[in-house]
Symmetry: D2
Subunit: 239 residues, 4 copies
């Protein structure tokens, strides 16, 4: 079983009527539901307002893949929890950062760059598979139409990804590296751009399939124990 | 002219007689001297004990490439200065991190991983060129013998480098990615392992050539202005 | 001085009135002209119909960067000349492959994949800079409009590029990795998609700037001698 | 079930008494045996002297991962079979190239570089895991001692690997990227340096584990149909 924790700041869904209608129990519940339907996945959820944001050491030790959605309250995530999550990623926990989570503390901390991009509301996207050989693209059509989506555009200031699995085309004239993989320490990271909160994107079948694929890909069987430290070793040879 | 700032914590050279004999005016002065002999390079130095560690906004604005040596006092570098240096790297300033600076705040912050490795005193190294096409390897023999060096060994927990220009062989039986390039934002980064403070490694002709080459390679003509921010753009098309 | 050889199959310009009007002396002459205006570049041209396609051993020895445009007669380039060009690239000669040259023998031979893509006539392109820190993007605006261009679309079956400097957006709904760098042996390769023969694309100022930048970037000072062979070496140590 | 075909030129084992003693039924039989003991793997073997080298279209269609050992007769492998194997790799068949197969026609054809290296008989190797997070390294100790091995040394003229899973240290003073992964088209490729025919290296437990891991990693569920061709598409939009 792959143990997934879906983390959501859970702010917009409570504040805006229009968003609550789409995700009445929060984006995390929607994602948790379709993941929980998979025979090989078990799901927990956690939100910003829980003690320690619901991401205690115990919870992270029981998490193989952490999914992260955040936007309005990026800076309210505590540094202690951010560092804790970072350590678990470096030790082998997978991380899937969705949409505006490009700008989360944890993604900035793990990737090191500014994570800046262009954006604009009210656009639509064609999501192209640009690494069809990648497990995250398994069973996904070569192009997916997202009828309503916030535009995210280049230049996207990220370190060079391992693979750009998806590239977004926006009707307004922009392109974006919409699905990117990274390896940091023993951890696999997938950033996936779709999922603006005002549109029912996480209900789309192919978007769900991508996230399910990503969970399986991010789930590493190889983990190391914390803390991660330098090691003073003796010689293997007569020097 | 390439404007280089050589930063050194300048602690070991003051504390240990043996190290002071090798670098009586500090490692930074040794490096500053051979760089300053190049017609296209001007050098400033800065050390930990200066106000703001000598790395004010003004100094960084006048710096094309920052060289960084640190070991004993990694955690005493202020977070504010670290963030300032990081912003300048992301905007296009080059960064050369030497030896134990793999574990500096700035390198951890820019690269995001644990930066851990194996280590042992009293070894010797053969430094192999493993990317002979790279400008940093120009004019460098295919192998350099360093008769006394601290061993740094794999696994070195770094993100995948753009190029592994040098790979170290140690008599004690280890290997190490001893010369690695990274790009973060607009900034070019070179990590170079040689240079343990107890040995006169920065006086070696080929080591000096590598650092000179690295300065020229890290010096980018393409810079962007700070702060780096997301941009809300209007459409290029009728959506 | 950077010694550039511009190679063109020079077939369409002779066969089609419409194309001849755009490039009366061939695409190679247009490219050779704007390159020749640069103070640091000297230009030779060569075409398919010359003996050895104009790419003799002597010519290649005098070439720092080879530019290649081909389309209709890809398979009529001799295997001997292809292998000769490949050897010079591996030894350090730069190669800039333009537009349909993705499907040239030399590109297939150097990169190994099928080099297949999607295509369609009669589209327009927005060319986005997706690696603004790269020397090939120096001085180039973040987006270039090409009012008429053949569409090239993903999936583009290439090995992972070192950098995707430009990404194309097409009005018809596709995206493409339009400017890609590769390193093979000591040679730097730049593939650049714009330049369908029916449109005056190589007269556009920013397209010319990109090709000039690419010439400077592909020009390596580090070369090795041919033939490239395995080397039986003696031990550096007492084994 | 993963369907593996183990291909061996099977020349040295017949010609040299000493090698026959180690691999009396050929290197392929040794490899086939330990792979065949895995519950999820079925094995076929093929050798140079078979019609079409045993690599007919039918055999390749039934092969998920092809293992390749060759040395003395690299150039006697037919171009037709090489191209056929290449097409299957590009369509998704895995390829594991062992030891001197770095210089096989198929590896040169798929990777495009000269594949040259340094070599010397009579050395020993320490094989370090330099990508411990990689599935091929699962369950492998951080260093493996190979008491007798031919030295292969840098510079190894390969395109940049996706991952350098293993790096070799040789007592004679060299280093080598001994275990490298590549993706070409839909195919995963693993080059693994150990396995000189004069030493019983493929009987070592950890070497066998690595090859078993590599088979599982190279086995892609995502395949495409042959031939691989460019596609003329119609527009998705009103241009």
């Amino acid at each position: 079983m792959i143990r997934v924790t879906v983390w959501n700041e859970f702010v917009h869904e409570r504040e805006y009527e229009g968003i609550r209608k789409i995700y009445p129990e929060g984006i995390h519940s929607c994602i948790g539901n379709f993941l929980g339907n998979q025979a090989d996945i078990t799901v927990k959820c956690a939100t910003l307002d829980m003690p320690e944001h619901g991401l205690t050491e115990e919870i992270l030790q029981d998490t193989d893949v952490l999914i992260w959605w955040s936007h309005a309250k990026q800076e309210e995530v505590s540094d202690v929890v951010t560092e804790r999550v970072r350590n678990h990623v470096l030790a082998g926990m997978g991380l899937i950062a969705l949409h505006s989570a490009h700008f989360s503390k944890i993604m900035k901390r793990l990737l090191g760059t500014s994570m800046t991009l262009k954006w604009r509301h009210d656009d639509r996207e064609r999501l192209w598979v640009t690494a069809p050989y990648h497990p995250i693209a398994a069973g996904i059509p070569e192009v997916i139409d997202i009828p309503q989506e916030e535009m995210y555009g280049e230049f996207f200031d990220i370190p060079k990804p391992d693979d750009v699995v998806f590239t977004g085309w926006f009707a307004g004239g922009e392109v974006f590296r919409s699905g990117c993989t990274f390896t940091r320490g023993y951890g696999k990271i997938f950033y996936f751009q779709p999922g603006h909160e005002e549109y029912p994107i996480y209900y789309m079948e192919n978007i769900q399939k991508i996230i399910v694929n990503a969970v399986r890909w991010c789930n590493s069987k190889i983990k190391r124990t914390l803390p991660i430290e330098c090691e003073n070793t003796s010689s293997l040879e007569n020097i």
